[in-house]
Each structure stands twice: as structure tokens, then as C-alpha cells.
Symmetry: C2
Subunit: 343 residues, 2 copies
DNA sequence: GGCGGCCCTGAAAGCGGTTACATGTAAGCG
DNA sequence: CGCTTACATGTAACCGCTTTCAGGGCCGCC
């Protein structure tokens, strides 16, 4: 039989109200009473039942984290950031992998309001805005990562994808590459769109014509990167560099290049995006745009908890992080010889 | 103002008991009444409050997942398996990264019993057995992954680490290697111990003497793998192959080899353990032992949910998976030339 | 026609806490 | 000395739901 506050009260010869006051530090409790209560708790091995508490306080100290796919190496770091900050603040996190499926997203959103979570961190959701609006109507604060939520306006944390992509592409251009291919993310996703836009921006600033044949669409997986580049090689469209929309795709692309006998970076330079943990250890080590993933997770969670406590910045608040170019071994200046044969 | 069951009852002109019966399918409800209730729910946008429900039913439909570090690429797949199965069964999962810190593990365990989770999945815990025993006393079912919990006996899911390690090492031996180094996991962890044991077993079966200078200890990270092998190279102890206790370490080791001018696998063969997602895409693609991570997550969760429902197999039940050798490009027969120079 | 059942429903007692309000006591003060 | 005041505690309502128990109709059946 688990001890309840009632048992503690009885044993300490006080009322449950006093025990509760003692537990929460609300209201005064005499030193001697305090001592008796401590004793009782100790002896009984009492732990307050948070469910009962939540029922009356209407706070569960639980945050929900909705994300597409934890299997993508980009996310674990984010999760860690969220987790750690939540922990510091006495919150606990409910993990929901929604697999990029709008129906599941909606289902989960429904469930969350029933579960009375205190707040929700929505990362890269793909569902319609009405779905989110409906959810928000329950009054649960939300913070969004990489997905703009206009109505109701929710705090947004993201990196400047466009600029990052531009920097990545400019890096390649500065190395002398003119035929830069791009493996994009899933079409329709804002992130993919932004990164593609950054790529085009860099091209156009450098006066290089945009060639849509050089853009293959992927879905942020290694498989797609591999297949995309394999297919591109089959078309015999020449290129000397690749900017992949994320590291996974870059790694897949590199594998496709290697399997077809090309060398990276001697024949083709490759740059990715994200700077996942293993990017430094692939061979060649991957040049990429670092996203401060862990930090973003922390910051987003901080904003969320603030929102839970009713402390919000102005509406439409945003925290934007900048991507940082990390030059490693997968990119190098275009070789003169290479210019001639262009792969 | 959020609608409660009381509001629904009022609007449908029935009692809360009837609404509850309708909601849970417990007890009969007349067709017409049913219809009125549906209407009311619809109009009010009512969602039952699971917190209140849990208070009385004593079931939260929440499972806790305690793991060392989600950042290790081995885990996300596991999490996914857990997540998906939990989802199918109507459970939700609370994520706790304990960072391999016994104190945090204990803290979390405490919190979980207060949070009234229905069950807990403990993966690779390092805390003392008394801690776990104390937790178990709260009556919360647990299932353990990769850590034997003897008292109270909890179902255990794991792979046969020893055998996997033996197979990995045997693979190297069969390729003609005799000087096989090993990057171990953190000493003291059962998993590390088992994998080391498997390595030694293979050596001894093949009549190869065990040389402790060939064993460097790591902690399952790339950094440690890198540094371990770098250090080993400095000692000038010759070796022609490496069996790393996990893929991360293998990748780090490969990087160290490459950075020092060695080629993998021409100069040194490398095999890992885990078969993380990216193992197939490193270059060279990594030979490794595949753990059916996703499946293990599912199976463990299944056992846990069964336990929650009081359906347990016999005491001391175990599910053991077998590791499978996946031969890729990072291992090859020892070259004649190499035998002479032995790195 | 009376009666045992079967359906369907409602009243009310909790689940384990929190908290507004009331109460009792002793100190402070003119 | 009587009155306020602050402190320490108790009483009881309530959070939103489930569930036991006890009917009230209505049927069939003897």
C-alpha cells in the first residue's frame, strides 16, 4: 500500500493541509511540526503523487517534444538540449516521433491536450495550419522549431537556412567550382526551400546560371543522396561540386561518387549541412554548415518554459541562429585538369 | 474555459456516470442517449482529462525510457522501436537521458515513481542494484536492456555481446590477421566486458596469444577510438586489424589510421559493432556486427507492456538477440607485403 | 396480474492532493 | 487589561473523472 499524504498527516498528528504546506513551502509551519512531518515522510517512504497534484494545480511539469524522426542524426543533439534544460527546470519530456506524417501529428496533438502537457515543442511539423490553430486553442503554449507558425503567433527558433546554404555554396564557388549540383530536401518543406533558395542566391550573386538539371531532390536521407547523385551521374550532366541540403545526403552522395570511381574531393567537392556528430569522422571529413543544434534545443525549451509561466517576448518573437561554415577535407579547389574533363 | 465531463453531461441531459460509460464503453448506453452525448462532445470540443482519469484508474499509459545518452547513434533506432510500439498500444513515452551518471539515474527513478509511470525501460543503467531494488519496491514493472537486474528479477533484453564479438574477431582471424587490436568500451560496464571476453575467446580458440598491449580502452565515442588508436600507433606495437567495441569507436579508429597515413583496409582492417545507420556509408563502408536495435526496442516495450498488464513470462525471462556479421569494405585479407612490415 | 430480469440511468463516494477560510493562541500595544 | 495582529493549524470544498450501488421502466412468463 502506497503512503498518501493522509497517512503522513496522521502519523505526524497534523492535518493534510499542514503537510501540504510543508511540502510546498506555502504557508508557515512550526519547527517542531516540521520535524514530525519529516520523520513521518521518512518512515513511510512517502512521495507525493504528482498526478493528484496536477489535477488541482493544472500543471504537469511535462513538455511534449514532437519531431519527425529521431533516427535522423540531426535530432538527437537537439533532444539532448531540450532534455537537459527541461531537467534543470524541473520539467520532464514526452517524446513523440511523428514520422513526418500529418495524420500522426494531428493525433498526437490531440492526445497532448488530453494529457495536459504544460507546453509543446514542435519541430519541423508538416501538418496544416488549422491543425495547429485548433491545438493552440486548448491554451497550451507552443514553441516552434524550423516551422513558422503564424496563427496564433508562436515563438520560433531556427537557423538562417538560406544564409547558411548561401555560405556553403559560396565556399564552393570561391574554390573555383562553377558546376555545383544540389541535393535538395523534400520539396514542400520550408527548410528545403530555404536551402535551395540560398544555393540559388549564391549562384546568382556569382553570376553563375542556375541549371535545374543540377538539382536532384532528396528527402534528407543517405539513400536519397546516393540515388540522386547516381542518377545525376547517369545523365552525364557535368558537375565538379555538390552542395547537399544536409549531411546525410552529403554522405550518401559521397558514397555514390566513390562507388562510381570518383574521388572526393579530388574529382568532386562535397559540402553538407548540419554538422552532425559523425561529419568530422567520415572520410574525407565533411565540409559542412554547423547548426548549433544542442543550443537551439536549449533555447527553444527555455522559451517554452517562459511561455508556460506567462513570460513571453513580444508576439512574433524569433530566435535565429546563424550557420557556421566548417571547412574539412571534402572540399578543395577545382583542379586545372578537372576543369578540362569536368567529371 | 475547458469543457469537463460535467458540462457534457449537462448538455446531453444525462449524468456524468453515463457519459463516462459511453466514453469507456463500460456499461450499456441507449442509442438515443449515445447520440445526444456525441452531439454534446462535438459541440463542446470535449476531451477527457487524462490526469483526472489516471488519478482514479491508477494508470497513466505512460512508459519511461531511461538511457545513457541519446546522442550515441546506437540509441535513436532503439528509441524509435520503443516509441512505435508504445504508440500502437496506446502508450506514450517519457524520455530520460541519464548521461551514464548514477546520481541522475537515481533521481530520475525517484521522480518516475512520483510521476506514476506505468512501467520503465531501463537501458544500460550503471547505478547500484539497491537503487533499482528500491525503485522496484514501488511496484512499477521494469524491463532491462543490456543490464542484468537480478533482484527483483526483471525481464531482460539484450544481444549476445560475447558471441557477436567473437564472430567479429573470428572474421578478422579468418582473413589471416594475427595481430588484432581491440578498442574496448568503458571498463566496468558489462557490455564492454562481454565484448572483450568474446574477443579473447576468439583469439584463444584460434590459438593466438592475447596481448594486453593491443587492447586500448575507450568509452564508446569516436574521440576515444581516435585517441586510443593514435596512442597505440605511438607505442609502435604492431597490429594489422582492429576490432572496436562499437561503430563509433571504429570510425574514430579509422580516422586515426587515415590521419597517420595508413589506409583502411589495405594496411589495417577495421570491424565495429552495432551497425549504426551510417556504418554503410562511411568510406570505407564499415564491417560490423549488426544489432537488431529497432527490433530490440519493440520487443522490450512489448514485454514491458505485458508486465504492466500482469502478463509475465517466468521469472528470469530473457530475450536474447544474436548479432549478425555484416561484411563491408573495411576488412580484407591480410596482404603478403603487409605481413612483412606489420604496419 | 404479479414477478423476476434485463436495460438503462443517476446519486454519490472516492482517487490524492491543494487551498480558501475559519479558528485558536500568544505576543504587542496604548 | 482589552484589543489588534501575526502565526500556526485545522476543516472542508474542490480538481475531473470512474465506479459501486441502487433504482425505475418494461418485457416475458407463469
Amino acid at each position: 500500500m502506497k503512503a498518501t499524504i493522509y497517512h503522513v498527516a496522521r502519523r505526524a498528528r497534523v492535518s493534510t493541509a499542514t503537510v501540504s504546506r510543508f511540502l510546498n513551502g506555502t504557508g508557515p509551519v512550526a519547527a517542531e511540526t516540521r520535524h514530525r512531518i519529516e520523520q513521518a515522510i521518512q518512515v513511510l517512504g512517502y512521495r507525493p503523487n504528482t498526478v493528484a497534484r496536477s489535477l488541482v494545480t493544472k500543471a504537469t511539469h511535462t513538455l511534449a517534444l514532437l519531431m519527425p524522426d529521431i533516427t535522423n542524426p540531426f535530432f538527437p543533439d537537439l533532444v539532448k538540449g531540450v532534455q537537459l534544460l527541461a531537467d534543470e527546470r524541473g520539467y520532464t519530456v514526452l517524446l513523440c516521433s511523428v514520422a513526418g506524417d500529418p495524420a500522426r501529428e494531428e493525433e498526437y496533438l490531440e492526445m497532448l491536450s488530453a494529457k495536459q502537457v504544460d507546453g509543446a515543442l514542435l519541430v519541423g511539423l508538416v501538418c496544416g495550419r488549422e491543425t495547429i490553430a485548433r491545438f493552440a486553442r486548448h491554451g497550451i503554449p507552443i514553441v516552434s522549431l524550423d516551422r513558422n507558425i503564424d496563427y496564433p503567433p508562436a515563438p520560433l527558433v531556427h537557423v538562417n537556412h538560406r544564409k547558411g546554404a548561401r555560405i556553403a555554396t559560396e565556399h564552393l564557388l570561391q574554390l573555383g567550382h562553377r558546376l555545383v549540383a544540389h541535393v535538395s530536401g523534400p520539396i514542400g518543406l520550408r527548410v528545403s526551400h530555404e536551402r535551395l533558395a540560398g544555393y540559388r542566391e549564391a549562384l546568382s550573386r556569382a553570376g553563375v546560371a542556375y541549371d535545374r538539371r543540377l538539382v536532384v531532390s532528396g528527402d534528407f536521407t543517405e539513400e536519397a543522396g546516393y540515388e540522386g547523385i547516381e542518377a545525376l551521374l547517369h545523365t552525364a550532366t557535368p558537375f565538379t561540386a555538390i552542395f547537399a541540403a544536409n549531411d546525410l545526403a552529403a554522405i550518401g552522395a559521397t558514397a555514390a561518387l566513390t562507388d562510381s570511381g570518383r574521388r572526393v574531393p579530388e574529382d568532386v567537392s562535397v559540402v553538407g549541412f548540419d554538422d552532425i556528430r559523425l561529419a568530422a569522422y567520415t572520410s574525407p571529413a565533411l565540409t559542412t554548415i554547423r547548426q548549433p543544434t544542442y543550443e537551439m534545443g536549449r533555447r527553444a525549451t527555455e522559451l517554452l518554459i517562459d511561455a508556460v509561466h506567462g513570460r513571453m517576448l513580444g508576439p512574433g518573437q524569433q530566435v535565429v541562429f546563424e550557420g557556421e561554415l566548417i571547412v574539412r577535407a571534402s572540399s578543395m579547389p577545382i583542379a586545372a585538369a578537372q576543369q578540362a574533363k569536368t567529371v
